[in-house]
């Protein structure tokens, strides 16, 4: 342990424990308090709820508007992930292998969508789509979201490739495997975790995206986040508490699945 040599009694650190506990309450309570509140029968979402009800969930699952938006969000996120992960893995592989000024520049371009504020990317995309007649189309939203996801894939898979010993792929090739076969059978299983992480990150990035959707995802191709944002701007609709609770449970499950996958992988690597 790094602090083994310095013994500070816990009582001397009491203020630190108190302060950090407050920070953790601040970080976590607002998120999880939404779940019990979503069962409150009051329009103002009392806490603790005086009477329990499923009516906000019923409203959500009974509304064609909300359900269509949720379906759109899921399909856009799925297609954007299917595009951005293979493309990003290829790009990360190339960037990891190649040297030279050209690739430094290409890396910069590949990370750029994450570096510019999303509002600027959004007005740029809107400006372009008006000219290409892509505003409010499924294809347009998918392309914009994929562009937003690719930097995540390049970063995550790039980090995975850094820890991968290239000699293994070369060994497979010496033994007669083609480049593609060596990559698929030797490299991919080794960077499996980074690819899974990239899939989760891409899906969440697309699913949670608000600002680009606000500009280019209207009409019948509206997204869940866009509908939530527009509704919240006018009033605090309790249906959103139900939707939020579902989303919170999904993200906690996604993290849990990822942590569970990571454990055995790490031990096997040792």
């Amino acid at each position: 342990m790094s602090n083994a040599a310095i013994h500070v009694p816990h009582s001397h650190r009491a203020w630190l424990y108190v302060l950090v506990s407050i920070v953790f309450v601040f970080l976590l309570v607002p998120i999880f308090i939404v779940i019990p509140m979503s069962f409150s029968d009051s329009k103002y979402l009392e806490f603790p709820p005086e009477a329990l009800t499923l009516q906000w969930y019923r409203t959500f699952f009974g509304s064609n508007e909300w359900l269509a938006a949720a379906r759109n969000s899921l399909s856009v996120a799925a297609v954007a992930t299917l595009i951005s992960v293979p493309v990003g893995v290829g790009a990360a592989y190339a960037l990891n292998e190649a040297r030279g000024r050209l690739f430094v520049l290409l890396r910069f371009f590949l990370l750029l969508p994450q570096l510019i504020p999303v509002v600027l990317a959004a007005i740029g995309v809107f400006f372009l789509y008006i000219r290409l007649n892509l505003v409010n189309t499924f294809a347009g939203i998918v392309v914009a979201h994929s562009a937003l996801c690719i930097p995540f894939v390049v970063i995550t898979v790039g980090a995975g490739l850094k820890t991968f010993d290239k000699a293994q792929e070369n060994a497979a090739r010496t033994l007669g495997a083609s480049r593609l076969r060596a990559f698929w059978d030797v490299t991919v299983p080794q960077i499996r975790l980074s690819i899974i992480a990239a899939v989760i990150f891409s899906f969440i990035t697309s699913f949670d995206e608000v600002v680009i959707g606000l500009f280019v995802a209207g009409g019948s191709n509206t997204l869940l986040t866009r509908l939530m944002f527009l509704s919240l701007r006018d009033q605090l609709d309790p249906v959103i508490a139900a939707i939020s609770s579902i989303l919170i449970v999904i993200s906690v499950l996604a993290i849990a699945v990822f942590v569970a996958l990571q454990r055995p992988g790490r031990e096997a690597a040792r």
């Binding site: 607002p30 308090i33 592989y93 690739f103 600027l120 990317a121 809107f126 914009a144 699913f207 508490a241």
Partner: protein
């Protein structure tokens, strides 16, 4: 050399070249598409911001100087970002420090607690604060029940609400990299200070804190820059009482289709975001040089 190896070489070279070509295109094609979709249009817009009524002009920028409301928005955005980044450091530094002190198992759990908000939808977290801060929300109920206030405080739709929500969203962006940089500080240095008779407080302030400052600085700049371009949270929690550069950009485009004004503001925002880390880096280098 046998004939076989010569023929092998003859086929290997074009194959390797084909591989190099494929490799370059694997990075270049997506990079070009990203530039066309995400960067190109904005560069185009940035060029258009120097055109007014068909002529090359600075009218879009002149308006920002002439019209005090633009200046107010720019100042408000910087103020909001500064307040949020300072508060994030005040809350994030002790948290990262304590996580570093924890035994590995507890540290993993603590990091997990920081990751949960990080991977929860931004909109959901903003909504949670809207509900908590509303007039008859949990916080007002608690304050009244504890007799701290008699009438509900007006917390929703204020600058304060925007600050609280933004700090909540920015904390993981500070804690995670700061924790990593604290982990990288050589523990022998604080041990040496203790060995030489420094009290834990003294060794923290004279050894650990100065060594952790570059990490703090980098995290704070990241948070500041992210806040400058933040849209969703200040829009919803500020409820129209907070107007930032990105809101004005969105408004100009969506309401008035005023691309010139929007892109001029965008150019200013982008310049700030690109220049602030560079200036900070130079200042950091100057500081490091002076400390030699």
């Amino acid at each position: 050399m046998t004939a076989l190896s010569i023929s092998e070489r003859a086929t290997a070279r074009p194959r390797r070249e084909a591989f190099y070509r494929a490799r370059t295109s694997a990075a270049a094609i997506p990079a070009i598409v990203l530039v066309i979709v995400m960067v190109g249009p904005f560069v185009w817009l940035a060029c258009l911001s120097f055109v007014s009524e068909g002529h090359l002009s600075l009218a879009n920028y002149q308006r920002m100087i002439d019209n005090p409301s633009y200046w107010k928005i720019i100042v408000a955005t910087f103020q909001l970002s500064a307040i949020v980044s300072i508060l994030t450091v005040i809350l994030g530094y002790p948290t990262a420090y304590l996580i570093k002190l924890l035994p590995p198992r507890l540290a993993t759990i603590a990091l997990g607690c920081v990751l949960v908000p990080f991977w929860t939808s931004l909109l959901v977290r903003t909504y949670a604060w809207m509900v908590l801060l509303q007039r008859n929300g949990v916080i007002n109920d608690a304050l009244i029940a504890l007799h701290i206030v008699d009438t509900p405080l007006r917390m929703a739709n204020t600058m304060g609400a925007a600050v609280v929500g933004m700090v909540h969203i920015m904390l993981p962006f500070l804690i995670l990299p700061l924790y990593a940089s604290m982990k990288a500080i050589d523990p022998d240095l604080t041990r040496a200070a203790a060995g030489l008779g420094a009290s834990p407080t003294r060794s923290f302030f004279q050894v650990f804190l100065p060594l952790s400052l570059p990490g703090v600085f980098a995290g704070m700049i990241l948070v500041f820059v992210l806040c400058l371009g933040f849209y969703v949270t200040p829009q919803l929690l500020g409820g129209g009482n907070v107007v930032t550069i990105s809101m004005k950009i969105q408004h100009n485009v969506a309401m008035y289709a005023d691309w010139g004004a929007a892109s001029a503001l965008g150019v200013i925002l982008l310049l700030a975001i690109a220049l602030i880390p560079l200036v900070a880096k130079a200042m950091g280098a100057a500081y490091a040089w002076r400390m030699r």
